[in-house]
């Protein structure tokens, strides 16, 4: 765990303590379970985003994808009466294919990630609304999927299964990002894509793979969100979720320029964001201020981090100058 992550963890604990003192309901099992369920859902989404951000890219279409893929998933199992495992596989594959298309447009046709995924944001939202004729996708009365519901929205030992899923995914992705050859390539490309290319790395393929990972994890979280809300109105479902994911990554120490950030960081970022949401509810802050609180905290967090970086750089430089001067005097 890096110093940055540790700082974030301490912040989470401090905020949690303060909230718990003001409103002890924060620590009620039902509140903790609800919050950790949301952490699970948004965490999976944010890990996907993190893989794209580490390459210096951005994925703006995830909110719309959560709406489109969620709508399709419910439609597949509720209306078309497909077996849910088949629908699950189809949705995950669709997420991967969409990621592949984004990656292909970005690496092969050299379009900017912002532009490609912004178009995706508009397109998928529009398609989702068209697909349901601007109606609501949901289950009919009495439709039950016991195994699916248990996996998606159930609890084991009191812990939401979505949160357990996040932990498993986080461990796997931690290994991928921080220990695997692929992860090292991602960092190298994020730091300096040209130099990575000159070291013989097939940068296009690696970046494409990052978008595929993002697409797959987005699809997975889309299914979780669908099973959580159980009914989807595509006009608003998942709106701004891309910004939650980006915010979690930025809070977790990712640089939008790429090449920086850790998996623990993005998880902690998600935790802090959900904690803040919870805080707004529990402390009786008008929920209309929700976004303002989050925005404020992110701004302060990034500011402190950046100023700390400047301070450290200045100290290093001072030391170097002092050493240089001492060396010159000695000669």
């Amino acid at each position: 765990m890096s110093k940055k992550d540790l700082g974030l963890l301490i912040l989470i604990l401090v905020v949690g303590t303060v909230v718990a003192i003001i409103n002890p309901r924060f620590l009620l099992p039902i509140n903790l379970a609800n919050t950790s369920n949301l952490i699970g859902l948004f965490g999976i989404l944010s890990i996907g985003q993190a893989f794209v951000i580490i390459t210096g890219g951005i994925e703006l279409s995830v909110g719309s994808l959560v709406a489109l893929l969620g709508t399709l998933f419910i439609d597949f199992i509720a209306v078309r009466e497909m077996d849910w495992p088949l629908a699950f596989v189809l949705i995950i594959a669709l997420g991967g294919i969409i990621g592949l298309v984004h990656g292909w447009l970005i690496t092969r046709l050299k379009l900017q990630p912002f532009v490609v995924t912004l178009c995706g944001l508009l397109i998928y939202r529009g398609v989702a609304r068209f697909y349901t004729a601007d109606g609501t996708a949901g289950f009919a009365f009495g439709q039950n999927f016991p195994e699916l519901e248990f996996l998606a929205a159930g609890r084991s030992w009191g812990v939401p299964n979505s949160f357990i899923a996040l932990i498993i995914i986080a461990i796997v992705m931690w290994v991928v990002l921080h220990r695997s050859v692929f992860g090292r390539y991602l960092y190298a490309i994020g730091k300096n894509e040209e130099a990575a290319k000159y070291s013989g790395i097939r940068t296009g393929r690696i970046v494409m793979a990052a978008y595929v990972i993002c697409g797959v994890l987005t699809a997975l979280s889309a299914i979780y969100f669908a099973m959580y809300t159980r009914s989807i109105s595509p006009a608003s479902h998942g709106q701004f979720y891309e910004l939650y994911a980006i915010a979690a990554a930025v809070l977790g120490g990712f640089s939008l320029r790429g090449g920086e950030g850790s998996l623990i960081g993005v998880i902690l970022g998600t935790v802090l964001l959900q904690e803040l949401q919870n805080l707004v509810n529990l402390l009786g802050i008008p929920s209309s201020l929700n976004f303002a609180v989050m925005g404020g905290v992110i701004l302060i967090g990034v500011l402190v981090d950046q100023q700390w970086g400047v301070f450290r750089a200045r100290r290093l430089m001072l030391e170097a100058t002092r050493k240089g001067a001492a060396g010159a005097a000695a000669e």
Partner: protein
Amino acid sequence: MAQRLLSGMMNYSDTSIVASAPFLSLEGVRKTYPGVVALDGFSMEVRAGEVIGLVGENGAGKSTLMKILGGVTRPDTGTITVDGLAHDGLTVEASIGSGIAFVHQELNLFENLDVAANIFFGREPLRAGPLKLVDRAKLRTQVAPLLKRVGANFSADTPVAALSLAQQQMVEIAKALSIKARLVILDEPTSSLPIAETDKLLDVITALKAEGISVIFISHRLHEVERVADRVVVLRDGMLAGTLSKSAINHDQMVKLMIGRMLKEREKAAESARAPGSVALSANGVRTSAYPDRPVDLDVRHGEILGLAGLVGSGRTELARVLFGIDESFGGSLLLDGKELVLGSAADAVASGIFLVPEDRKLTGILLDLSIAQNISLPNLSAHARRSLVSASAEAATAEKQKSNLGIRAPSVATRTGTLSGGNQQKVVLAKWLAMNPKVMILDEPTRGIDIGAKAEIYGLMRALADAGVAVLMISSDMEEVIGVSDRIAVMHEGQISGILDREHFSQENVLLLAVGKRPK
């Protein structure tokens, strides 16, 4: 009060010209960087209306000297006297304020703006009124005489992007004149110019001199220095190697002062060369992005160092990029050890044992934020991994071996490469390829910006590679280096190989003649 002070200063500077006291003098200037003494007790002076040729090898301390004169860095010790005022070190403001102007190798122009806007950028004459609109008519009348003084054949409203390189340099010089510069420093202005354009620029220097403006002309092209300089100052290893007065300026004298002892070491290195082996990499009719209509044929043999000389912009770097698979070739074919080779990316080249040490170390050679070990393992990471999980100990082992082999000076292999000196960074670039099995090693300006000690080590490494049967292709603009290190020299001119010289025909003159597209003697 301020008014009086100002007029007093102006009077003073007027008399200084009459008395022909030096406009600028440096005394005992010393500047060290961690691990390197860049300037060591350097002294020189520049008189009004004098053209000083400043020559020295890469790494001799020229750029440090420029930084000190520009006020970007302060010397550790020494005095800089400008116009009679002594300073311990200049600030950027003081440098500009005392009339020192720079024309850099890389031009600082806004290509999307026109000539007039560039010359008066940030100082545009304004119309009266609260809107602060630019007075375009006044701007034009102010620019016209400046352009005339530099002998420009273009108008003030031409967009800079439409100008040739020499014309752009004239704009820079006009800009210097517009701030009433009294010393114009030209940093390798001709290095990327074709010959005809160079003549124009040298005429401008003569015109500046006639106006009483001093010029410091930095160039690697010694015959140009010979033509315009009143005095030549030679830097070597951060020290003044000598000063040549007008009558004593000649090519051989300058080279002798610049090279000193280095020449002998290099000759010795080259003598140990053995007979070259079979053709390793062969380019047949390859065409590059720089000159898509000119096919290039070139063979590099096992066991030889083939120098690739030519002017900047002759297409050498582009050729290297094609041979390394970064750029596509427009037609033609490559053969590696007689077998057809198709390169879709640098990854393909690396897989076939063709490695490139690129020209721009910091942008493309290494990742400054990664450690030495991580940089070295990067191209061959799967060999340092088990089940695609990276093994830090395997990485460290490879890096330690290369560190001691190449003498990379760093606290440990976990050190960030961004903190290393240029020479050590270059060794890291070399190390990552040496840790694999090179068949063909392409080095693009391998010693640019590296101090002399590290240079000699890199020459030694290249020779050791060649002795081990590797085909080495070295692109270099440093004439002494090309002649001293190579077994054969291929010269490029406007996208084509204009000739290949064998050892017995090596001479600066021959290389230069081929570089400008003429026949060698």
